[in-house]
Structures are given as C-alpha cells and as structure tokens.
C-alpha cells in the first residue's frame, strides 16, 4: 500500500512509473524505487524460499546487509532487492534456494 498523502511529507507527486514483471505478473513500480518497495506496495511479501527447508523469506534490514530479500532479477540470482532500483521491463522472480543463473528454479 502506498502512502499517498502524509501529514509531514505532503502529497506524493511522483508520477513516473515503470512496468516490471514479478513471477510472470506485471506490476507498476515507481521509477527509481528499490524493487523491494515496489513489491511491498503491490502486497508481495515473500521474496524467496530457503535452500534446505523451503521456508519463505522477505525483507528484513532494508539496507543491503542481511541479504534476506534476495531474488532472481533479469536471470541473475541473489540480487538484493532492498537496494536495487527498478528498471523498465525488469523481470523479477521469487528465488528458490540459491537460485540459478539465467533461469529460475
């Protein structure tokens, strides 16, 4: 959910969007925002599944340190979505385990 109007920061006047694809589904992202923000705004909280037990993981630290939020982006696994900005046409996939180059799963 986006915070459109805010008591301190005022209205959000940003109007430049890009389209990204998340697990085959198109979502609108705000130009320049981190992938993780676009996903949370779209209500997506599960970013990957762990290698051994397949447990779900999402964003934790938000500053690129903990690597809990890594996903496969444009075929590259282990991309830290909290510090990687979206780009038009980006293909984002839930990462299964350690992920694989060039494809998901």
């Amino acid at each position: 959910m986006r915070v459109k109007s805010h008591p301190i920061l005022g209205e959000d006047y940003r109007s430049e969007f890009v389209d990204i694809t998340v697990d085959g589904k198109k979502i609108k992202a705000m130009a320049g925002e981190p992938i993780a923000a676009a996903l949370l705004a779209a209500g997506i909280k599960i970013f990957r599944n762990t290698p051994k037990t397949g447990q779900p993981r999402g964003i934790f630290c938000g500053i690129g340190r903990c690597t809990d939020c890594v996903m496969t982006v444009n075929g590259v696994p282990n991309v830290r979505t909290c510090v990687t900005p979206v780009e038009e046409g980006m293909v984002v996939e839930t990462q299964i385990g350690h992920g694989r180059w060039g494809e998901n799963k």
């Binding site: 959910m1 986006r2 915070v3 459109k4 805010h6 008591p7 301190i8 920061l9 959000d12 705000m30 320049g32 925002e33 981190p34 923000a37 949370l40 705004a41 909280k45 599960i46 970013f47 447990q55 779900p56 993981r57 999402g58 964003i59 934790f60 630290c61 938000g62 500053i63 690129g64 340190r65 903990c66 809990d68 909290c82 510090v83 900005p85």
Partner: protein, 367 residues
Amino acid sequence: MKNTQVAIIGAGPAGLAAAIEIASAGGKVTLFDENQKPGGQLFKQIHKFFGSREHKAGTRGFRIAEKLLQDTEELGVEVLLDSPVYNVFDNFTVGYINSNKEQALQAEKIILATGASENALAFPGGTLPGVMGAGAAQTMINVNRVLPGKEIIMIGSGNVGLIVSYQLMQAGADVVALVEAASGIGGYGVHAGKIRRAGVPLYTSHTVKDVVGENCVEEAVIVELDENWQQIEGTEKHIKADTICVSVGLNPLTELARLVGCDFTFIPALGGHVPEHDKNMETTVKGFYVAGDISGVEEASSAMEEGRLAGIACAESLGLYDNQKASELKQEVWTRLDTLRKGPFGQKRKDEKDKLIKLAEGGEQIG
C-alpha cells in the same frame, strides 16, 4: 590513478559533515556511498530534532539532510554514488566498485563513516516475511512511501522503536502493541508520550514468544517476563498483526576498520565492537579516522558533530589549518558534543566514549 586528499566512506550525516569541514578548509574530498542517493539514514528522519540551535534543534531530519547536500554541492565535494568500497589497500588506496568495475583512488587520509546496522532478535517465527527491522520499515514509509503493513507490533522501546511507531501511524498504519522486555521504557518519555496519546498499548516486562502465520506474519504471542527475564507461563496474549518491527539496538558497521587493522574494544553501550579512537577521531591506524555510528552507536546529531571533528582534524593534519585554529574549532565541536552527551540518556555514552579515547591515547588496556 585518481587521487584526492581525503576519502570519506559513507555519505550519511557524519560523512557529509566531515566533507563539508574539509572542503571549507580548502581540502579536496571524495565522498563514497554504496547507495543511489547520499544522506544515509537522515532522509527517513521526518521528526524534529532535539538539541539546541547549533545542533539544528526543531528542524526535521530530512531538511538537515537537504542542507548538508546543498553545502557539499556548493563546496564542490566529489560524491561517488553507487560505489561500494570493498577494501583499502596499502598507501591509502581505496578499492571500490563503480559501474560494475573495480576502481581505485589514492587518498592521503581516510575517514570511515559507514554507520550501523540493526540488530536482529531470535524468536520462533522471527524469519517469517513481515518481521523486519524498525529502520527498514521507516525507510519504506518515509523514503519510499510504502506501508509494509497495517497492523504493526513494535518490539523494543528505545528511541528508534518509539519514533518509528509514531511515524508508522503518521503513514497510516496502526501500532497494535509496543513490547519491551525491560520494566521501563528505553527511549525518551516524550516520544513514548506521543504514541500513548495515540492509544498504542504498551507492554513492558514482555517479550515475543512466538510469531505465527502460514507464509507471512498473522499473529504474535507475547508473554510477560519475571524479574529474571524468564517467561511467566499462563500470561500469553495473542495479538493479530501483519508486521513485526524489531528495534533492539544497532551495531557499528566496522568491516573496513577491521580490514585496515584498527584496534577494537567491546563496549555494549556503544553497540558492540568499536574501533578505538582519540579526541581527533583518529583510530590506532594513523591517517584513518572514524565518525558517526561506526565509532559507537549514538544518534544523528552526535554523528554530525563527530564528522566535523574528524574533518577538522584531517584538515589540520594536511596543513590546511594551523594548530591554534584547529584546536579552537575542535573545542567548539567538543562543547556541542558534550552538551548532547549529558543527562540520564547521554551521560553513559559520554563515559563510554571517554573510555575509547583513553584506550586509543595509550591508557589502560582491556582484556
């Protein structure tokens, strides 16, 4: 190879303040940051700061950040963004990555202003999506303007927990519980007062026992603690929530200080292992300075003052200031820093920082 007089690593409040000092003295500065934008964590601080006029009290954090950026720009400070520094090699050669390429820059002095990261807390369900650092949630709402959830439980009542609780409500979420293991509130009473007036239930002497949910957070079970911090069976409460924010302190990001061989000391009140530094913020490795949370976790106002100190000291050692001028300038900063480290919330930090300084200046050794 590119060169500069002072390389500063980290463009948060400490790094920016240091850069401004050095550039004002006529020095050439290169400021590195791994992020897309400078400002560190200041842009998510939308509350009015404490302190006095010279600390920019009453000004919202993000406005202070805007001013710092404006000053660095006017002074012609070179800012390299999206440029993580991965090591510092012999002779002050900074190794960094820019545009997916390894690059190097030759400096004469280096200031490490890398900040801190949030501590995690281990509890069952603590890895479920929806459990996140309070600072991460704060970035989401105030910088990215995205709400991570609607019903939020905050763990920890230090200033970060209190301020982020308030700001989550400003962004439109509900904070359904503030959980604190200690018997009292950790942060400023006035911050707690704001969220109490907004109706946030406060659970002191409580901890989170379990977080449940199929794939994401759906509910938390909190439990009361006795005076020995043990859970009291039968006092469990189930609270519906979609997000658990964890604010149980921060720890300094010290990797680079480790790599260059700085001496460290363990000081829990400052966030853990911190590089020893003297009154000039210089570490035990000559020519390497630290400023801000890397040198002990405090808050943004102190970080800026430490940045200024490191900046003035660098300028002095480069011969940009004579000793008298430098010591006058440093004294002004020390006076302001001491002001921030007073009272029931500040004195402990002051004592611990003094300990660090004593160590670096060749005082007693700890273990």
